[in-house]
Every structure is written in structure tokens, then in C-alpha cells.
């Protein structure tokens, strides 16, 4: 069972920035009585309660589901996207991963394509734009056709399911030394390319989504694999290889 609850005293170093144009700076906060049973976001909630009581501006950060499915809780914790643990989002990180007296540095994602809006909040609409550029399929309306009309192999179904588990959190971009969005983009391209239904637009999709990704100012993958290591959903680098093949096919077809 879980270890006994302890109370931690922590030194937080948090990035504060008024708005897009503000230069921004780190501010130090001392926190006492943080339970090892609380989550990382609850710890920031505690800090914000204190700040509000003191009449100060609370730390802005994105969060929604708090169970690892929405992809909102973007932040660098001690230089790692979503903190030190593998396959977890920040909301799934618990204070038992830290020890008494620790200094914790909290920073927003840093990418030219994800501008900081305030404190830890970034504008990640760039991801939506990449999806809008090609992350769809054309289907006939009317009655659903018989499922056996379009057989999908178990292998393709599994690969599509794995790719579809991407929650669009942006940890891949944050962790990549080149701020590349290729793991995210490849998950979206690969997911649809696994199915017969995804073939109609396959070439345009690969070409247009890669073009959009480039134009938004993301970097270029140099195959470090930091994205894969940081991804809370374990999205595999094989997706990037698949995207590279899809892109090549599109160019050969002149799309």
C-alpha cells in the first residue's frame, strides 16, 4: 500500500508573466504543510488560496479533467514536461514524488508556436490548426454500413487505437530539443492512415498537416526520442516513421 502521509516544506520557483508581452520572471514561494497524498495541482491550488488571501494574483495554469485525459495541465516541473514520472500528466503527479525541503522549478512550455498567455498558461491552438488542416475523413451519410464491409486488421486497429490515445497535451513539443510537433502530428496522421476510410484524403492530409505544422513555427525532428520519453500516453516514434512514409507517398503522387 501507499507510504504513510508526510508533510513537506517546499521552495517553489514559479514563472510569472502578466501577458504575452510581459518579459516574465521567476518568483519564489515557500510552501509548508504540503501532504504527500496531495496531487501536484492541489499543491498549486493551496498556494493560490494563500495568494488570494493575501490579495495577490494567483498563479494561472490550465487544468480540467485532473485525471490524465484532457491534456490541459501543461507545465515543466524541474525541467521535465509534466514532471519526473514516465507516462503521467502533471495532474497525475503526486507530491509523494518529492522530498521535504525540495526546490521545485515550474515553467510554462517553451515553444515559439505556443506563446505564453499568462504565467504557466500557453496558447496551444496551434495543435487545433494542425488538426483542422487534415485530421478528418469524408464519409457518406445515411445508414451505417455493415461493419464487415470494410475489414480492418487487428494490427491496424491496435496501431490506430494507440495513436488515437494522444491527448494533444504538447509535452512532446515541450520536451523536444527542437520544439518539434512531429510526434503529435504523426499520431494524428497515422491514426487515420490505418483505416480504409482514411485513405481517400491520405495524401492531401499528410501534405497539408505537415505544411501547417511547418508554418506554425514548430521545429524539425532530429530523432532524439525525447518526445516519446515525455509523452504521457506512450505515443511511439513509429508514428513519425509512418508520417514520413505517408508524406513521401503524397509527394510521389504530386499532392
Amino acid at each position: 500500500m501507499s507510504a504513510k502521509e508526510e508533510m513537506l516544506t517546499l521552495n517553489l520557483k514559479i514563472w510569472r508573466q502578466e501577458d504575452r508581452n510581459d518579459k516574465g520572471r521567476f518568483v519564489d514561494y515557500k510552501m509548508e504543510g504540503v501532504s504527500t497524498d496531495s496531487s501536484f495541482l492541489e499543491m498549486i491550488d493551496m498556494l493560490n488560496d494563500e495568494l488570494v488571501k493575501e490579495g495577490k494574483d494567483p498563479v494561472s495554469f490550465d487544468h480540467d479533467c485532473r485525471e490524465g485525459i484532457c491534456g490541459s495541465c501543461a507545465m515543466m516541473v524541474n525541467g521535465q514536461a509534466h514532471g519526473p514520472n514516465a507516462l503521467t500528466t502533471t495532474c497525475q503527479l503526486h507530491m509523494r514524488s518529492f522530498t521535504d525541503g525540495d526546490t521545485i522549478v515550474i515553467e510554462p512550455w517553451r515553444s515559439r508556436a505556443f506563446p505564453v498567455l499568462k504565467d504557466l498558461k500557453t496558447d496551444r491552438s496551434a495543435f487545433d490548426k494542425i488538426i483542422a488542416a487534415g485530421g478528418y475523413i469524408s464519409v457518406n451519410t445515411g445508414n451505417a454500413q455493415d461493419a464487415n464491409n470494410l475489414p480492418v486488421s487487428k494490427e491496424n486497429a491496435d496501431l490506430a487505437m494507440d495513436a488515437a490515445s494522444c491527448i494533444g497535451c504538447g509535452a512532446c513539443v515541450a520536451a523536444c530539443p527542437n520544439a518539434s510537433a512531429m510526434l503529435f502530428t504523426s499520431a494524428k496522421i497515422s491514426q487515420l492512415a490505418q483505416f480504409p476510410q482514411g485513405q481517400v484524403e491520405a495524401a492531401e492530409r499528410a501534405s497539408n498537416m505537415v505544411r501547417e505544422m511547418d508554418e506554425l513555427g514548430f521545429g524539425n525532428c532530429t530523432n532524439h526520442a525525447e518526445c516519446e520519453a515525455a509523452c504521457p500516453k506512450g505515443i511511439d516514434l513509429r508514428n513519425i516513421a509512418h508520417m514520413n512514409r505517408e508524406f513521401l507517398k503524397a509527394k510521389v503522387k504530386g499532392k
Partner: protein, 220 residues
């Protein structure tokens, strides 16, 4: 309307970098195989060099090689500049996961730049270096063996050469497997083996070239 020019896409540039890189990896291996004739002796090495330069196809081969270098450097430099710009503001602290970046992958732009300087000096020192003559089996030809052995009499030159070959080993050790991924080849069973082969290639190339330089030093 989006342009359909392959070179204007990130992945297009990456694939050009990768295919030219692979070509250079092949060149590196054949060049090393040729150099190993130094171990056989002066005549064997000189005769090989002579055979190469007397073949009219050498001009075509050199043009292709130069083209690969120029494309590789132009694409890699563009990609690297974009990558630096893409981060924007740097992190205050950034920790590696330990499961991604390696020394070789992190240093690709640096090892590449070292290689560029190395190649320029290498051409100046050898290809366009002193022109000694020797006769092998009655044929007058360039005595490259003497030039090489004299060059490596200077331990500083040996040190610079070994340093550059470590850079080459690192660059190709990451580059070989990376270029296959860039061309879409990734397989759960074979990719781990490809990575091992890639590192082994880097180590062998670094050891092979450095070993020959040290051997030449001791011939003096």
C-alpha cells in the same frame, strides 16, 4: 495554395539530409577500406590512389560527392536554424529523460561543423598537398603514401585527426539509424538491431581512421 515543392517541407529537407547523409556514410566506409591498404604497403596504397584518379569516372564520382555534401550541409543548416528559432525563449532548466537524447544526437550540428572544417583541411593537406612522385611497376604516379606518413609525423596533426574522427564516429553513429527513421523505416523487431549496427559503424569508423593515423605516426 500550398507549394508542392518537396524541399520546402520540413520532412522533405529531413529526407534530403538523410539520403545524402547515407551516401556520405557509404563514402566514409569505402574511403576507409581504401586507406586500409596503407597496412599492406606503400606500393599497394599508391597504386590504388592512382587507379582512382586515372579512371575518367572519378570526375562524375567527385561531382556526386560534392553535390551530396552541399545538399547535406545546406539542408542540415536550415533545419538547425529553424530548430533554434522554434524554441524561442530557452528553459531555465531542462532535464533530459535519459531515454531519449544521447551525446551523439545532441551534438549533431557541432560534430557536423567539425567535419566541415576537417574536410576542407583534409583536401588542402592531401588532395592539394605536396606532389611527390614514385614508380610502381614501371608506372610513374603520385606518392601519397609518403605525403600521408610525413603529415602524421606531427603529433598535433594526429591529435586533430583523432578528434575529428571521434566527431565522425558520433555523427554517423546517430546519423545512420536516424536516416532510416527519417525515410520511414521503423520496425519493432529490427529497429533496435539497426541502432546497434549504427553505433557499431560509428565506433569502427572512428577506430579505423584514427588507428591508421597513429600507425602512420609510428612509421616515422
Amino acid at each position: 495554395m500550398p507549394s508542392h515543392n518537396y524541399f520546402t517541407y520540413s520532412i522533405g529537407k529531413k529526407q534530403i539530409t538523410a539520403v545524402t547523409g547515407l551516401g556520405l556514410v557509404g563514402f566514409t566506409a569505402t574511403h576507409l577500406a581504401g586507406n586500409l591498404l596503407i597496412l599492406v604497403g606503400a606500393d599497394a596504397f599508391n597504386a590504388y590512389g592512382h587507379a582512382l584518379v586515372s579512371n575518367p569516372l572519378i570526375y562524375l564520382a567527385e561531382a556526386i560527392l560534392l553535390g551530396m555534401f552541399v545538399l547535406h550541409i545546406a539542408m542540415a543548416a536550415t533545419l538547425t536554424a529553424q530548430n533554434i528559432a522554434a524554441r524561442g525563449r530557452r528553459y531555465y532548466i531542462k532535464n533530459r529523460s535519459g531515454r531519449g537524447e544521447t551525446i551523439a544526437s545532441m551534438t549533431m550540428p557541432y560534430t557536423g561543423t567539425i567535419l566541415l572544417v576537417f574536410i576542407i583541411l583534409h583536401l588542402i593537406n592531401f588532395k592539394y598537398g605536396a606532389h611527390y612522385e614514385t614508380t610502381v611497376d614501371g608506372v610513374v604516379m603520385r606518392d601519397l603514401f609518403r605525403l600521408v606518413v610525413e603529415y602524421f609525423a606531427n603529433p598535433l596533426y594526429v591529435a586533430w585527426y583523432v578528434f575529428s574522427m571521434i566527431a565522425l564516429g558520433l555523427h554517423t553513429g546517430h546519423g545512420l539509424q536516424s536516416s532510416l527513421q527519417t525515410w520511414g523505416l521503423n520496425h519493432p523487431k529490427y529497429t533496435p538491431k539497426v541502432k546497434m549496427v549504427s553505433v557499431a559503424y560509428g565506433v569502427l569508423v572512428a577506430l579505423g581512421y584514427s588507428g591508421l593515423a597513429i600507425y602512420c605516426y609510428f612509421l616515422n
